[in-house]
């Protein structure tokens, strides 16, 4: 399996920069996801790796081979890059049977009929589509097309697999199931995978590492835990989930661990303990991230990092949970409680943050 290396890669369309100097290293066998809002340049990045779009700056290597380097006029055609790709539309060729669709990458590589037969069967079994080999392609459901697209992308054991929002056309239940299946398949085969999605849940459930992008740039690269719990900026923090972000001032700093600091912070009408991996000094303004799921209603216990008091201004029943909005002196807080918790509008309650759950990012 091959690694993929993007060094300072850019792409401009006329005067518009869609991808702006990206650095990314995908290790062999790793599953890396590009995550970001629509229009942030994920697809363009993926297409540059595939060779479908020419980079306008930087260098892309697959394995040890430089496949794209505009400065030296290197641009390897897509068919010479030995990749597998799953398109958002699946791009199942409608004039072929399922079998022919999957056999195509082998046929154009002039493999023997016996080998094609065997490999296609194996690939179709892998995605549990072997019963459909003789079906005409248009007679497939969305989920089945997606399986065929995956089988086709993997049939010749490519060095790298590229996927562009492969689950976005499926309904919610199928999306979760296909995601899990695909991930375990990828682990088993150990194929280097670059995956594009705008769905944070999908990104976190599947990836070894996530690349958060915005406006053609990378905001943060890290494991799902790092990205979710230790975002490096307000933008990353607010892109994942819908956190509370409170203004505060640093009043004390102390080292908690290598690369981790413990801050005493004070906001409007509250104070507490927050952690962070950036360096802030006393008196500096920061934003404190409080995730809704880390808040609970309570009588003040002895050992909390922070607590707020406020009036309930909205309460929405969601089946499994109940969402609440609280007006406090620090601003509005929203959080979740078990669904059957009795809570009247206008009631004044006290909420507290779980231990070590507050995270500081720079305020901008």
């Amino acid at each position: 399996m091959a690694e993929v290396l993007l060094e300072n890669v850019s792409r401009t369309f006329g005067g518009f920069t869609a991808v702006d100097g990206i650095h990314l290293h995908v290790a062999a066998g790793e599953f890396v996801t590009l995550l970001g809002p629509s229009g942030c340049g994920k697809t363009t990045t993926l297409r540059m790796v595939a060779g479908l779009e020419e980079a306008t700056g930087g260098r892309i290597s697959i394995g040890r081979r430089v496949v794209s380097e505009p400065a030296r006029h290197v641009h390897l055609a897509p068919d010479r890059r030995q990749l597998g790709m799953v398109f958002q539309s699946y791009a199942i060729w409608p004039h072929m049977r399922v079998f022919d669709n999957v056999a195509y990458p082998l046929q154009v590589r002039r493999r023997s009929t016996a080998e094609i037969r065997e490999r296609v069967d194996r690939a179709l079994r892998l995605v549990e589509m072997d019963r459909f080999a003789d079906r005409p392609a248009p007679a497939l459901s969305g989920g089945q097309q997606q399986r065929v697209a995956i089988a086709r992308a993997m049939v010749f054991e490519p060095e790298v697999l590229l996927l562009d929002e492969p689950l976005s056309n499926l309904d919610a239940r199928l999306r979760a199931q296909m995601g899990d299946e695909f991930r375990s398949l990828q682990r088993r085969l150990g194929i280097t995978t670059l995956y594009v999605t705008h769905d944070q849940d999908e990104a976190m459930a599947l990836s070894d590492r996530i690349v958060v992008m915005r406006g053609g740039r990378i905001l943060q690269i890290g494991t799902p835990t790092e990205i979710y719990q230790r975002p490096n900026s307000e933008a990353v923090a607010s892109f994942l989930g819908s956190p509370n972000l409170l203004d505060a001032v640093v009043t004390g700093v102390e080292a908690a661990a290598p690369d981790l600091s413990r801050f005493e912070v004070r906001g409007e009408g509250w104070q507490g303990i927050a952690y962070g991996n950036q360096s802030f000094s006393c008196g500096q303004s920061v934003r404190v991230l409080v995730r809704p799921e880390d808040l609970r209603v309570g009588p003040i216990s002895q050992d909390v990092d922070a607590a707020w008091r406020g009036e309930v201004i909205a309460s929405v029943y969601r089946g499994a949970r109940r969402s609440l909005r609280l007006r406090t002196s620090a601003g509005e807080l929203h959080f979740e409680v078990p669904a059957l918790t009795e809570m009247r509008l206008g009631e004044v309650v006290q909420v507290e943050a779980a231990k070590s759950s507050l995270w500081t990012v720079a305020s901008n």
Partner: protein, 583 residues
């Protein structure tokens, strides 16, 4: 990297594919190929166009030394010519209005009512469109002849009348013959527009309290307007170009339009007046250009949401026993526009003289003489040669132009597109006049005029705009992903072109091919100027036989041609059913 090595040992043909593919990706060879394409297209459109301008200023016929002056244009801007234009525009406007009314009626019957056997009726209503107009023109010339036409004979026999019922050699005859062709043409547009309409839009109007009639007037009709306007203008333009109807029914009654005036001033004057013909051609083309431009301006920004081709199943109105009336209306149109002319050809072919229908005058002589006529056989051979060759070349050219303009981002593709579209505004007759000058102007070593190539070139030029349109529509339906997916999974440029694009677009190619073939088989106005001894085509031979008064032999040839048309139409319908709808 193991897969790469197996690539390296690929067979020879594969290597060729790869290398040619690389070639198309290289900048210099691509520019060369594009330049060659642009030159070819310019020869087919820009060249005759500029030669037309040259010819309109030139005092003598093509190939003869002369001087330059404006006398051609001076002759165009006179009262008789103004009348000519008024005639042309008036006839075309009239026939377009009549056919549009009929087309909307039939479109509504077929798509919105429970009239029985609508599928079959649709095929029958559109059938006249595929019959070469020269055939029905000659048949109607016999049917509606004031002295010996069958219709008048029957009328006089039945009602003892002295005066004939109809006379096709008149304004109404010209209009009537055109209506037979524009109705199916407009019908195709209108019925599509009716079908593509989201029924929810009409249901919403009904829910808001609108009656069936006010819903039709205030919702359905406005929604169809963009499609109807396009169709109206297209049909009007085709009316201006029309040659057969005014030639057959207008000329004997001294009714002249622009096309017949061009033809007459070249063919039916002791000294052919090429300068006037060219000037007239140039002016009518300028007029068409303005029309097309106006149409483009008017439709720009209008959305075509109603004609997206989504498969709605519109609400069908239950007509009760009235549905037999609507059925009868459609059948009458079919009977009058197809069955009657065929019947006349049959009748004419078996009697010694047309107009004298007595048992003792039954004969097979005409069949014998036609089958023994070398000229007819040669014309058959030429027509088929040109039909097959012309349709293939035209569709190939159209596929390439459409590919360049819709599937690539190569610079220069706009120019290619415009060049290929130019002949759209040139009536066949005008293009032929341009080519007459163009061929005479070529260096002496290249003789095209007088050979079958002259016709081929004109047919390809005339057919290219339509073939580009057909293929563009086919390509538009194929997402780019399908091609890119093939590239990523290891196929080269040529392989992708062949195995994905061609494999997916060929049914449209075939349908377009048959359309172009029909177009060539029916073509008269360009052929009649560009043919010469040895390169006659069927339509020209028919015209000459008709002018010599051989109506009976004409009937025989016409019947043979008609059978071929029906055979091709049947094959085409089968093809569409099987492949185009399946995708």
């Amino acid at each position: 990297m193991s897969t790469l090595s197996s690539n390296e040992v690929a067979t020879g043909s594969m290597r060729l594919g790869f290398r040619a593919g690389r070639l198309m990706e290289g900048k210099a060879p691509r520019r060369l190929a594009l330049a060659a394409l642009a030159l070819l297209l310019a020869f087919l459109s820009l060249y005759p166009l500029s030669m037309l301008l040259y010819g309109s200023l030139h005092t003598t016929p093509p190939g003869i030394a002369g001087t330059f002056d404006l006398s051609g244009y001076r002759q165009v801007f006179t009262w008789p010519t103004a009348l000519l234009f008024a005639n042309t525009v008036g006839i075309s406007l009239l026939k377009t209005i009549f056919s549009l009314l009929l087309a909307v009626l039939f479109g509504w019957i077929i798509s919105r009512t429970d009239t029985p056997m609508r599928g079959a009726l649709e095929v029958l209503i559109t059938l006249p469109f595929f019959v070469p107009p020269i055939l029905t023109a000659m048949a109607w010339g016999m049917l509606g002849n004031p002295q010996v036409g069958v219709i008048n004979l029957v009328w006089q026999r039945m009602f003892g009348s002295e005066t004939p019922l109809i006379n096709v050699y008149s304004y109404s005859g010209v209009v009537w013959h055109m209506v037979q062709y524009s109705t199916p043409f407009l019908f195709l547009f209108v019925v599509e527009a009716f079908r593509a309409m989201d029924p929810a839009l009409e249901e919403a109007s009904r829910m808001c309290g609108g009656s069936q009639w006010s819903t039709f007037r205030r919702v359905s009709l406005p929604l169809m307007m963009p499609a109807v306007i396009t169709a109206f203008l297209l049909s009007f333009i085709r009316g201006l170009e029309n040659f057969e109807s005014p030639l057959f029914f207008g000329t004997p009654a001294r009714i002249e339009v622009v096309t017949t005036a061009i033809y007459n001033s070249i063919h039916h004057q002791s000294i052919p007046n090429y300068q006037f013909a060219s000037a007239l051609s140039f002016v009518i083309m300028a007029l068409m250009f303005l029309l097309v431009f106006w149409q483009w301006r008017m439709l720009r920004g209008r959305s075509f949401q109603t004609v997206t081709g989504k498969g709605y199943s519109p609400r069908v109105i239950k007509l009760g026993s009235w549905r037999w009336l609507t059925f009868a209306l459609c059948m009458v149109f079919f009977l009058v526009s197809v069955v009657l002319p065929i019947g006349q050809l049959l009748l004419g072919s078996f009697f010694q003289f047309f107009g004298f229908y007595q048992w003792d005058m039954l004969t097979l002589d005409h069949y014998r003489s036609v089958l023994g006529n070398d000229e007819v056989w040669r014309a058959f051979r030429n027509t088929f040669l040109l039909g097959f060759g012309g349709a293939s070349v035209t569709m190939l050219l159209g596929s390439i132009v459409a590919y360049v303009s819709t599937r690539t981002r190569w610079s220069g593709r706009r120019l290619i597109d415009v060049l290929a579209w130019l002949p759209w505004m040139m009536p066949g007759m005008v293009l032929a006049v341009g080519f007459l000058w163009g061929f005479a102007f070529l260096p002496g070593a290249i003789t095209i005029y007088g050979t079958i190539w002259a016709l081929l070139i004109a047919y390809v030029a005339l057919g290219t705009p339509i073939s580009v349109r057909v293929m563009s529509a086919a390509y538009h339906q194929l997402s780019f992903d399908l091609e890119e997916c093939s590239r990523v999974h290891g196929a080269g440029w040529w392989q992708t072109l062949w195995r994905i694009l061609v494999a997916l677009a060929w049914p449209s190619f075939a349908v377009g091919w048959v359309l172009t073939f029909f177009g060539i088989m029916r073509e008269l106005s360009a052929s009649v100027l560009l043919y010469s001894v040895g390169s006659e085509v069927l339509s020209v031979v028919l015209l000459r036989m008709w002018e010599n008064g051989q109506a009976e032999a004409v009937s025989v040839v016409g019947l043979m041609m008609m059978s071929l048309v029906f055979l091709f139409r049947w094959v085409q319908l089968r093809l569409i059913k099987r492949y185009v709808n399946a995708l």
